[in-house]
């Protein structure tokens, strides 16, 4: 199942999709994965529950 027309589930070796998220400290501010190009990035996903 995919929800976007161009994507499959990204695998190791694929370019990561350019995800845009809101900053938790300021919901009007956007954080984009593409902002980090030029550096190595670890995305750590978690939840308060």
């Amino acid at each position: 199942m995919t929800m976007t027309p161009t994507s499959k589930t990204p695998q190791i070796g694929d370019l990561a999709p350019d995800v845009v998220l809101a900053s938790a400290d300021d919901l009007s501010r956007r954080i984009r994965v593409s902002d980090y190009r030029g550096r190595r990035l670890l995305i750590f996903m978690w939840a308060s529950w």
């Binding site: 190791i12 995800v19 845009v20």
Partner: protein, 230 residues
Amino acid sequence: MWQQFVERIDPARFALLSVAVDTDVERVRPFTEGLTFPTAIDRAGTLGRLFDFDVVPNGVFLDEQGVIRFLHVGGFDIRRPEIAAQIEALIGADFTAGATPTYSRQESLDVEVLRIELVERPNDAGLHFALGDALLREARAVDAVAAYARAVELDPGDWSAHFGLGTALELQGQRDAALAAWRMALALDPANFTVRKQIWRAEHPERFYPDIDLAWQKQQLVREGYAPGA
């Protein structure tokens, strides 16, 4: 934990982005105090949908070109020494020089661009879903509800469309309708703990704050009749 890890690494080489998969930003903010790295909130489960994750915590490591070099689903905890060692190794690794993928946008993420694309493909459920995400980021709850509802209409078997709808309804203050949508998402994907815990948190907040009651969660799974692997 992560703060201590990040302080040891040259920020010119490596960055950490913490992403909270929560529908309520007030639950997230207490965890961000004293951190020097940013925390984003992913209220509609966008990353989970893209990467097909149905649990947290997870780690995704990208190199400086944005290529995925590592994925770890569930149990991704920097306190585990083997995980800390893996991340340090990835930071220092020399990735094979090969053809660098040409960077291209795989998703159109802005409301206006999506509306233009929808003129050409009005029955594309994925576009309505992406529009819902974009509207949710702008806190336009009413419009986000409409977009997700259309995605659900077009692709009623997709759990993530129902989940996005629930999140937008919650933002609008329609708690009962949000729970109904999340329940539908869970019915479509019963192994999805992101959805299940969201429902639990909304219906039993006392079991999550101030402390997470794991014993209650185990009992609740039994009460809900969910037996993994059965």
